[in-house]
């Protein structure tokens, strides 16, 4: 890579089920103001803006144009990037590319969603082919359920393994993250007793939908060093949109897109031993089941080793590799912002600004995005400009 890019500011709203305090532009502006404040910048310092969400959740066409009153995009370069559930991570990567291209020094990236304004599952269900697939597509939960059935069958994982992930993420949100949407301390028993949504996924296994926004400021190396002593350097990016049909993902026990994307990003970042080199991870885990079955795709354990990893407790706060100190997607899910929140939270960790969520001494973090048809994005961040 020719040019180093760092994250210098992160802001987010207090996420909730239904935001009735303000409209979408105002929600965006709250996140933008907080990001600017965190970097001690003003709108005048911003050279370009990237924004993303999923159109059919709010039914606003040309959100890049609509947003300018909240994004600060008036008389500035602004563009929209959207790739479904991976929108948040894709806009993060777009912000990185803006700064890495040398065309823009300081780039504001905004992800947002007011999911309460739509029927989320109905909107998601139009993502598959209108002729061959839409009739039987029913949102995101069914495919994730089938995915974990395949993993349980192949590797002997259990519903209780997934419940451990749910407890970990929900309790992290409750204890450490004042911005999270669901802040409840729960037990494995609570998860196991909650109602089935789509076997084996139960109510406490699945993410909520949230209203919220996140803004992250990316800067070129020169600019980042001027803004802060400790930016979160982007060491690697990867993305993979390998599947496109609903049926492609069903029966899959593993997540090939994450494996491929991780390989790209790790190679770029110089990560050869992910479990030992990564200090903290903010993962787009839309259902607790994925917190078990996607661990090997990230190279954090051997094939089928997800249950062992989760049971061992190493991914809990205080463990060797804490996952989702923020509570992750199971606690907060404003879809267009969700992937960007992972990048923002990972950045805060390596910047040492994660407050109660802070993993002590975190130097290397990974953030992922998930969506589309089992698509994955990944970002490697570090307080160090390069790994030795």
């Amino acid at each position: 890579m020719k040019m180093l890019v760092g994250i210098v500011g992160v802001g987010q709203t207090h996420h909730r089920s239904k935001n009735t305090d303000c409209n979408g532009q105002e929600l965006i502006s709250i996140a933008v103001k907080r990001a600017l404040e965190s970097a001690e910048l003003t709108m005048a310092d911003i050279d370009a803006i990237v924004i993303g969400n999923m159109d059919h959740f709010e039914s606003i066409n040309y959100v890049d144009m609509w947003s300018v009153d909240g994004s600060g995009g008036y008389m500035k370069p602004i563009m929209k990037v959207t790739t479904g559930g991976t929108t948040g991570s894709a806009i993060g990567h777009a912000g990185f590319y803006h700064a890495a291209s040398g065309l823009f020094d300081t780039v504001l990236v905004i992800g947002w969603e007011q999911n309460s304004e739509s029927d989320t599952t109905a909107a998601i269900s139009t993502c598959f082919d209108p002729i061959t697939e839409r009739e039987y597509s029913a949102g995101a939960i069914g495919p994730l359920a089938a995915h974990y059935i395949a993993y349980m069958t192949k590797y002997g994982a259990t519903e209780a393994d997934a419940a451990l992930v749910s407890v970990r993420d929900h309790n992290n949100a409750a204890l450490y993250n004042g911005y999270a949407h669901l802040r409840q301390t729960i037990t494995v028993e609570d998860v196991m007793k909650s109602a089935y949504i789509s076997y084996p996924i139960k109510l406490l296994d699945i993410c909520p939908r949230s209203d919220g926004a996140c803004a992250v400021i990316f800067a070129s190396e020169r600019k980042a060093k001027k803004i802060t002593d400790r930016p979160a350097w982007i060491l690697g990016v990867g993305d993979c949109h390998i599947l496109v049909h609903l049926a492609d993902g069903i029966g899959l026990a593993n997540l090939p897109s994450l494996e491929i994307a991780a390989r790209q990003a790790y190679e770029m970042a110089g990560i050869t031993d992910p479990f030992n080199q990564i200090d903290v991870a903010e993962l787009y885990i839309p259902a607790s089941t994925a917190g078990v079955s996607w661990m090997e795709a990230l190279g954090l354990c051997e094939e089928g080793g997800g249950p062992r990893l989760v049971r061992s407790g190493v991914t809990n706060m205080g463990g060797k590799l804490p996952i989702n100190p923020s509570g992750g997607v199971l606690a907060t899910n404003p879809i267009g912002a969700t992937g960007l929140l992972r990048i923002g939270e990972a950045a805060l960790q390596v910047m040492g600004k994660a407050e109660k969520k802070q993993v002590e001494g975190a130097k290397v973090a990974v953030a992922t995005g998930f969506g589309g048809c089992f698509w994955s994005d990944i970002t490697v961040l570090s307080s160090l400009p390069r790994l030795d």
């Binding site: 008036y74 008389m75 929209k80 990037v81 082919d129």
Partner: protein, 378 residues
């Protein structure tokens, strides 16, 4: 800026209804752009698609053309906006140093949607949408505002339509190629006063793809790479009432940035041919002003002088422009593709002799709220 070259371009023929699917349209231009570049899909190391969930009638609309563009095979992203913005994203991915060859694909099947409903959704949902605003009647407000402020006439706007539809006769991809008169335009059915049928672009299905590459690769792979010399984009205020609709400040800002990068100080002298986003006849006049080809309010007189005709000093829209083929999302990328053909000297009957610097332009949102300007050169 490091040199990045465009080494492949392709368009479909634009038509009112194309029975091909979104994916088939995307596949046609992907295949042809690769052929034009002398590459195979395995040479492409990243892809930018341009899809919009409203126009495509599908959530995560980029999934519609993922396979057809081969974007499942390598890193990819999707820009939702005009095709020029997709090209800009593709350019940045190369400039980052992470990618060598980017494929950018835009497709549109407007014939399957209801444009007035889809464009109504770009207005404020609480205060403005119920007024029935859409792309055409909001443009009518802008045309009226522009004519009132600067004394530009309906006849001068009509001349753009006459010129562009005539130019389209030499463009095999154009949707509406025809000889019409100013009188025909003035007498055509009123859509939203003062916009008449022949002031408006058609509803077209179609697709466009371009392939761009880093300098070293571009030179090795292609005999006639066309270089990206400058680019700029900028957005104006959102609410129509917050803007002076007769003004073009966002375009002027985007152009200034692109011109600075390309070393253009006197656009009229230094640019040989321009392909601009004339969704309506009056827009071409306003964009001439925003691009600095003349002073504000003077584009009508410039057109009267014949300067933007095929044999004038600055031919504008030799392809027939967007008035002759309007596949939304695609149209700005098509401006880039046409500019590339001009600079290669491969524009056939619409060739501007000796063109060595070209401008391509796209718009975003209502009444040109956003603009993206590319300067290309040999």
């Amino acid at each position: 800026m490091e040199k990045v070259g465009i080494i492949g371009v392709a368009q479909t023929k634009y038509q009112r209804y194309n029975p091909a699917s979104h994916a088939e349209l995307a596949y046609e231009v992907t295949s042809k752009a690769l052929e034009d570049a002398g590459l195979t899909i395995d040479d492409i190391d990243n892809t930018v698609t341009v899809c919009n969930d409203f126009w495509d009638g599908r959530t995560i609309s980029s999934m519609t053309i993922t396979e057809a563009t081969g974007s499942h095979k390598s890193p990819t992203t999707n820009v939702e906006g005009d095709g020029t913005y997709g090209a800009l994203m593709g350019l940045m991915r190369i400039l980052s140093g992470l990618h060598e060859i980017t494929l950018v694909v835009a497709q549109s099947k407007i014939s399957e949607g209801i444009p007035s409903v889809i464009t109504n959704a770009m207005f404020d949902p609480i205060y403005e949408r119920m007024l029935g605003l859409d792309a055409i009647n909001s443009a009518a407000l802008q045309m009226r505002s522009y004519m009132s402020k600067y004394g530009v006439t309906e006849q001068q706007c009509a001349k753009i339509s006459v010129k562009n539809h005539k130019n389209a006769k030499a463009n095999p991809y154009a949707h509406l190629a025809m000889d019409i008169t100013v009188d025909d335009v003035l007498k055509s059915r009123v859509l939203a006063d003062p916009i008449k049928l022949l002031d408006a672009s058609p509803i077209s299905d179609g697709a466009c793809a371009i392939v761009m590459a880093r300098e070293r690769t571009a030179k090795r792979k292609h005999g006639k790479p066309i270089w990206i010399k400058g680019v700029g984009h900028c957005a104006d205020a959102y609410h129509l009432g917050d803007r002076d609709l007769a003004e073009v400040d966002a375009l002027a800002s985007a152009a200034k940035r692109a011109y600075k990068m390309a070393g253009i100080r006197s656009p009229l002298k230094q640019i040989d041919v321009a392909e601009v986003y004339d969704a309506f006849s009056y827009m071409e006049l306003m964009w001439m002003e925003g691009l600095g080809f003349c002073d504000r309010g003077k584009a009508g007189a410039m057109v009267d002088s014949g300067l933007t005709e095929m044999n004038g000093a600055l031919p504008v829209n030799p392809s027939g422009g967007v008035l002759s083929a309007h596949a939304v999302q695609v149209a700005g990328l098509a401006r880039i593709a046409e500019a590339v053909l001009q600079l290669r000297g491969e524009a056939g009957g619409r060739q501007v002799d000796g063109a060595s610097t070209a401008l391509a332009h796209g718009i975003e949102g209502a009444c040109g709220q956003g603009h993206c300007v590319f300067i290309l050169g040999k």
